[in-house]
Symmetry: C2
Subunit: 278 residues, 2 copies
DNA sequence: ATCAGATAATAACAAGTAGATAATAAATGG
DNA sequence: CCATTTATTATCTACTTGTTATTATCTGAT
């Protein structure tokens, strides 16, 4: 193998003499896309079921992106992993310590933070809406749940919208080529800080893809739930209706019967299920 | 939303007054698992087809992990993305500028580099073996292609072996829980630097999974290839034999007929195919 | 009580996909 | 011209998924 020059050092010297601390280092933030599927009260409903896919955003009180909305996040500390930093943020913002947390992608386009060199290690979390609903309407705070829609908008573009009360954020992004989340481009952006539109779009795509072949959706459910409720969660995330019989067959191996049933519903009771552990 | 103390700053202050440059920053490296499927010459063969899944490793000439083998990689520079840094490494080590490159996972366990705080943004690359075979046997260099095997080893453990001539590296790792690559543990490790056994194991798993539902394998092929050759590549990576008829049905929509055929093979000629673009 | 209305749950059938084996095709070298 | 070898397609079966129809069980009105 040939040796190549690398900033004046040979490859060999680069490997052996390089002291990591001597060179420029980026700040590394852990940002987190927290999803929940919430049953919104009447005035906020957009659909029949009342279930909406929601994302938690925080309003920025300082520059840059003053008054824009941003994903919860913070800088990673020396003695923790990026995952631990994300978990810390999740706990701080929602109080939930259950659910699902996974690393998504590390965004590092130069200039993504106008202040300085900052990479964002993006995460995705799924939490049960019930456990945090009280905070959803708390307008005095700077953190709010935004209803999310994301879908094709012609020309290979995708429209992301986030709404909370009168506040409506919107972004138009291109399709990410292959597995390259960074390759997605923000064509238009209203109200979202940094490249967070891109991060949220990637997260939604990941979530939708994974619904098909994982039990990810169960992290959005309470301990017990009916199959109809579970199906509504799938339909809300995928933004399309599913056939009942096929859906039941598909999720059958993910859940366990409890023998308990709903009551006083005005129609045939529905059995409650819980996640199957193995 | 409640405000929480965070190193003495409130959440609000953290967001607005925090200057990223004021706090500890990690070094960020871009490491890359470069895969190829090579036709090894006779003496190195382990199987009938002669095809082997190979990974490029570089021998470390300095501390730490002196004389251990490591993934190609280098520190990310301020004006580039982690992907660009990976691409730069790929080009330096293999000279290839085609193929496939994708981000895998960012590893950040404290102490993973004994010198200082270093995160590794791991990538996976797939390149056509033909274009770089000349370098494979070049023992004078410090970069070599290692044959890879990875499989279950009882107790939920997985054995990773890497061999090149007389050199044999080996590691035993646990199954990664869910999508948490970092959650994998290295139980035993001979000859691999840092946590690179973990990174390679994650990469193999990702590669095997993706073979099923993507056209990733086509990046390991030359411009034109027969379906038998393609099947051998799949079998080599998955380490199991596939049924011919089913395989052809499965990949039919990924490839395009060329109308050209192999010649002088001693048997019925085989049609050459190429990747279908859309 | 009985029935209408609603939703749950499952049965039944069609259509498609994948596993497996067998048959046929096309070259080379005696 | 045949034996050998591999390519390619056909065929059959088993399983999975899409779709529609049927049956079950509750509440509340008559």
């Amino acid at each position: 193998m040939h040796l190549h020059d690398l900033d004046g050092l040979t490859e060999q010297a680069y490997l052996t003499q390089y002291n990591p601390g001597d060179y420029a280092r980026p700040s590394v933030a852990s940002d987190i896309v927290i999803f929940t599927v919430a049953d919104l009260p009447e005035p906020n409903r957009r659909k029949l079921t009342g279930k909406e896919l929601c994302v938690l955003l925080i309003r920025r009180g300082g520059h840059p992106y003053l008054n824009c909305w941003a994903l919860p996040g913070g800088f990673v500390r020396p003695a923790e992993t990026v995952g631990a930093a994300a978990y810390r943020e999740l706990l701080e913002e929602t109080g939930v310590n259950s659910g699902h947390l996974e690393q998504l992608y590390t965004f590092s386009t130069p200039g993504r933070d106008p202040r300085t060199w900052v990479m964002s290690c993006a995460h995705m979390a799924l939490v049960d809406g019930k456990s945090i609903l009280p905070k959803a309407g708390d307008d005095a705070s700077d953190a709010s749940w935004f209803r999310l829609t994301f879908g094709a908008s012609g020309n290979g573009r995708y429209r992301l919208t986030l709404t909370h009360g009168d506040i409506s954020l919107s972004a138009l992004v291109t399709q990410a080529p292959d597995a390259d989340c960074e390759g997605m481009k923000i064509v238009e952006n209203q109200g979202l800080a940094f490249d967070h539109a891109k991060i949220i779009a990637c997260a939604v795509q990941r979530l939708r893809n994974k619904l098909d072949y994982t039990d990810l959706a169960l992290n959005l459910m309470p301990e017990q739930f009916t199959l109809t409720e579970l199906q509504q969660v799938y339909e809300t995330i995928l933004d399309k209706s599913l056939l009942k019989a096929a859906f039941r067959r598909k999720v059958a191996h993910l859940v366990r019967e409890t023998g308990e049933y709903t009551e006083n519903t005005g129609h045939r009771p529905s059995q409650r299920f819980r996640r199957r552990e193995d």
